[in-house]
């Protein structure tokens, strides 16, 4: 799941921009920014839920990129390399605020009181048709930060567990288990959101689901 390319020439354009940026070309910096600003900013915004902080982190990520670009030798895809930098910036940000970002412990969470049992299936697939952009965004915002990062990196951005493990400094097993818990939690949140939308219906209407 590599980032979709808008134009076929974008790959060439990027390679050229990297080469020129390594020589300190200002226009090339701008081009790299424009090619990747959305991915970086989206990650920062989803992690912080605050546009001002997200902008600060985006700025920091790109500055680090431009400082270090001369050391990029093409061992990985450029976007992966940039993403690794961005993830680091986000992690540092939360570390400084003493907020946990990744819960790397294996201990299972206590079940929540009330609400759907998040790790059991039910008689119906309740999420059919509910997993759309709107609800996804809302649920991600409510996802505990400890799970959000892994979910964003794996399911949204498409990184593999070994890449995520390297970015977050944890084991591959950790990454996998965190992802699983994140998805279970997402499922719970999506079900809650769906239930809330139907809350005001009368009792007679539960059969007309699609």
């Amino acid at each position: 799941m590599s980032p979709s390319r808008r134009a076929p020439s974008a790959g060439l354009a990027e390679a050229e921009a990297i080469a020129r940026a390594q020589r300190g070309d200002a226009a090339a910096f701008e081009q790299l920014y424009r090619l990747h600003k959305r991915r970086v900013y989206s990650l920062c915004l989803r992690m912080t839920s605050n546009t001002a902080e997200a902008e600060d982190l985006t700025q920091e990520a790109f500055l680090q990129l431009f400082r270090k670009i001369a050391t990029f030798r093409g061992e990985s895809a450029f976007s992966t390399w940039l993403h690794r930098l961005s993830v680091n910036v986000v992690l540092m940000h939360f570390r400084r605020k003493s907020l946990p970002v990744t819960s790397l412990e294996e201990a299972s969470e206590p079940d929540e009181e009330g609400g759907p049992r998040k790790d059991f299936g039910g008689p119906d697939n309740l999420l059919a048709g509910s997993v759309d952009r709107v609800n996804l965004e809302r649920a991600i915002e409510r996802l505990p930060r400890g799970y959000r990062m892994v979910f964003l990196l794996h399911d949204v951005e498409g990184y593999e567990h070994n890449e995520i493990a390297e970015m977050l400094g944890c084991s591959v097993g950790n990454s996998k288990s965190q992802l699983h818990k994140a998805r279970l939690k997402m499922r719970g949140l999506l079900q809650e959101q769906r239930a809330a939308r139907y809350k005001e219906e009368g009792p007679a209407n539960s059969s007309s689901r699609r």
């Binding site: 070309d25 959305r38 059991f120 998805r183």
Partner: protein, 217 residues
């Protein structure tokens, strides 16, 4: 059934990653609850990529980054735009710092020459294009805003009536929302309306402060 579901729940993660024990597969064969769970988790995984890259930072962020990039000396060649650069480059193949100095000297000369031209008399204030808002303009603008507009009037008379009217309009609605909110403090719709008005006001002020608007012509 529930005991089996519970036992196999921990394996579910592995199953979704492609590793499954025969017990799990057998269980999934007949347990509709677990099948639904798997399908639900899969649908989340399928849906997630559609939101990659949704958000965009505001255009001004690049300016900030660019300034920092220059400040840190990461740029090794400082281009400056304009037909003038090409002209001077052609006539005067100097290294960048000397070129910058030459550019500055020329700007100074150009500035001196322009100042000595006969200044045209200031224009009368233009008619506002839009109909007057139902407000008392003077009352709606704070003294700081009046000062800003007076300055704009002096520097850029064409622009100020438009900003004056639009700023007054937004302020009028901010007042209206605020008063309504005072009477009905918990009302989220009114708060939302107020927030929108403030955002629009910020936009207007930011447009006014654009170097193009607030400068001597």
């Amino acid at each position: 059934m529930e005991a089996d579901c519970r036992n196999l729940r921990r394996e579910l993660g592995a199953y979704l990653e492609g590793e499954a024990s025969p017990e799990l597969l057998a269980h999934l064969e007949h347990c509709r609850h677990c099948q639904n769970l798997v399908e639900e988790l899969r649908s989340i995984e399928r849906a997630a990529p559609q939101i990659a890259e949704t958000y965009e930072p505001r255009p001004a962020l690049w300016k900030q980054i660019e300034n920092a990039v220059y400040a840190e000396g990461l740029v090794r060649e400082r281009p400056f735009s304009g037909w003038f650069r090409d002209l001077v480059r052609e006539w005067l193949p100097l290294p960048a710092p000397a070129l910058a100095a030459a550019y500055l000297v020329v700007l100074l000369i150009a500035g001196v020459v322009i100042t000595f031209r006969t200044a045209t008399p200031p224009l009368p204030a233009q008619q506002a294009a839009s109909p007057a808002p139902p407000v008392d303009i003077a009352a709606e603008l704070t003294s700081a805003e009046q000062t800003m507009l007076a300055e704009m009037e002096r520097l850029n008379p064409g622009a100020s009536p438009i900003y004056r009217n639009n700023l007054a309009t937004v302020n009028y609605y901010i007042d209206l929302c605020q008063r309504t909110l005072d009477q009905d403090p918990g009302n989220p719709d009114v708060r939302h309306s107020l927030d929108q008005a403030y955002t629009q006001k910020a936009d207007l002020l930011s447009a006014m402060l654009d170097p193009d608007e607030m400068r001597s012509r």
